[in-house]
């Protein structure tokens, strides 16, 4: 099986055409987004929050833990992910078809 299909741009264009021409959802969706945009523009002067809903949040994104802790955490993280991926690839093989 080839890694990528031939005529990728044509394929994408055809699929876009199929999707866009298949029903009336896209114009309705565009109209909804446009309405919301116009209303948001109208309400722009009032778009301020009276109270701070984010107060008490202590961001700790920038404070990194010591190196040993980082290593330990990464080890746990990657081992869990490795388990997850292993299970996924094995399960995928057996998913819906029989072992005949």
């Amino acid at each position: 099986m080839p890694l990528f299909e031939d005529h990728i741009l044509t394929n994408i264009f055809d699929r876009l055409k199929t999707y866009a021409c298949s029903d009336i959802f896209l114009p309705i969706f565009a109209l909804i987004l446009l309405t919301l945009y116009v209303l948001a523009r109208v309400l722009r002067p009032y778009l301020t929050t009276s109270e701070n809903m984010l107060e008490n949040t202590q961001e700790s994104g920038s404070s990194l833990p010591p190196p040993a802790k980082i290593l330990f955490t990464k080890l746990i993280y990657f081992s869990l992910n490795a388990t997850c991926l292993h299970l996924y690839f094995v399960a995928n093989e057996h998913r819906y078809f029989f072992k005949l």
Partner: protein, 437 residues
């Protein structure tokens, strides 16, 4: 999803059972670029990595090492692990909701107009990808309004001055309007809860719900306790958590949704809420308590995954196929209830073909012909003449039936003949016709 392989998806608008016109749009274009399984798996990994990264960004108030451990646990949750195959749209739902909430958070920090537009755009996209996203935003809207009432921003007089009220709460107004637009379309396009066959097919009783979602429900209670017992957690995060908890309760106890039986044990309906609920554990201050809950959760998750894995290895399918492999010089009539379950959707030619092909090579040697039941919904194109439909039933034929099929579609042709049960397991029944005209 299946049709996006060949020609791309189309908008599912006016389809009475579901209202998710933007679903699988990514696969439409992906399958135009490649069909190679390695690239497709790589794509899944990239999307999974993106959702993990966004979760990491969103929960910036949790310490990094706790966040990473929680993300690791998230990756092995039953709802995450078993939705990794490509035909689940849950990953994109989570990404879209996270993007909208990140914009919301950014708006609260900076009051930038672009953040409001981003929030509205991603919230709308998410709602039209799957109905459960709409539920979350409804619950978020309710939580925001309740908070406003609590703050005395909404009083009885507010209803007399709607314009002034809107000016006071523009974001709530815009979100409510988006949800109203969605709901109006849903009413016109889809059937209601009581007659919608998609919901009716997947509804279960209270006991089944508790059994299937035992882990998720326990986690929800623990997470609620952890978050609301901490004063340091901001109001915004508490509102988001409450919205997710409410949407979980709505899905489980009002809609009463469970996975269909060929997706045994996969709790994909709570995929998005449970990600946020799990991250709530990170609010626990004491390390000992945090690691205790994590260890307990990991142990429970591994047990549940082991059970699902056993089931997904297809032990019931395997038992049935072991029996079928012993047959020689006969006909096997596949009831439409069985072809539905084996394939995933009733009467879709591609699924039935997949079932047929799996048997074909072995059965040519054994001289076993597989026959399918004719149906008005099940139209074979002329070139598909290698699939045999039932013309007549003979003595000695076997009939494969799925037990407790959600839609009782047992063939009238085979039911009228005397028959004897020759095989039975949890999923399947095989009869042999003992008398024919």
């Amino acid at each position: 999803m299946f049709f996006s392989f060949g020609q791309g998806t189309w908008q599912q608008y006016g389809f009475e059972r579901r209202f998710n016109p933007l679903v699988f749009l990514d696969l439409t274009f992906l399958f135009g670029i490649t069909h190679h399984p390695v690239v497709l798996n790589f794509y899944i990994l990239c999307v999974h990595a993106l959702e993990l990264w966004l979760l990491y960004k969103f929960f910036d108030f949790i310490k990094p090492q706790k966040r990473l451990i929680l993300l690791g646990l998230f990756s092995v949750l039953p709802s995450t692990l078993w939705t990794l195959p490509i035909n689940f749209t849950e990953r994109w739902m989570l990404i879209e909701i996270l993007l909208s909430l990140l914009c919301f958070k950014n708006f609260l920090k900076t009051h930038r107009f672009q953040s409001v537009l981003g929030f509205l755009f991603w919230a709308n996209v998410a709602c039209y990808v799957k109905e459960t996203c709409f539920l979350f935003y409804v619950m978020l809207f309710i939580c925001l309004i309740l908070w406003r009432i609590y703050q005395n921003d909404i009083v009885l007089a507010s209803f007399l001055h709607p314009v002034r009220s809107i000016q006071k709460m523009p974001l709530e107004f815009l979100l409510g309007l988006s949800l109203l637009f969605w709901f109006i379309q849903y009413i016109f396009v889809c059937l209601d809860f009581t007659t919608n066959s998609y919901l009716l097919d997947r509804q279960a009783n209270f006991l089944e719900i508790i059994c299937l979602y035992k882990f998720e429900l326990t986690l929800t209670v623990i997470s609620l306790f952890c978050v609301f017992s901490q004063k340091e957690v901001s109001l915004f995060n508490k509102l988001i958590l409450m919205a997710h908890v409410l949407s979980v309760f709505f899905i489980l106890f009002i809609l009463r949704l469970i996975s269909v039986d060929y997706m045994y044990g996969i709790t994909y309906y709570v995929y998005v809420p449970i990600a946020f609920i799990l991250m709530g554990l990170g609010c626990v201050k004491k390390n000992f308590v945090f690691y205790f809950w994590i260890s307990l959760s990991l142990f429970a998750v591994l047990l549940i995954n082991k059970e699902i894995f056993k089931h997904h290895q297809g032990q019931f399918n395997l038992e049935m196929s072991e029996f079928v492999k012993k047959l020689h010089d006969t006909n096997l009539i596949v009831d439409s209830s069985a072809s539905y379950v084996l394939g995933g959707r009733k009467f879709e030619l591609a699924y039935v073909k997949a079932f047929y092909r799996a048997f074909q090579n072995d059965f040519l040697k054994q001289n076993v012909k597989i026959k399918f039941e004719p149906s008005d919904d099940f139209l074979f194109p002329e070139e598909e003449d290698d699939l045999i439909l039932i013309d007549k039933v003979e003595k000695g034929d076997y009939v494969l039936i799925k037990k407790n099929a959600q839609e009782k579609v047992v063939s009238d042709i085979t039911v009228s003949y005397p028959r004897q049960k020759v095989f039975e397991n949890k999923f399947y029944l095989i009869y042999q016709i003992t008398g024919a005209e």
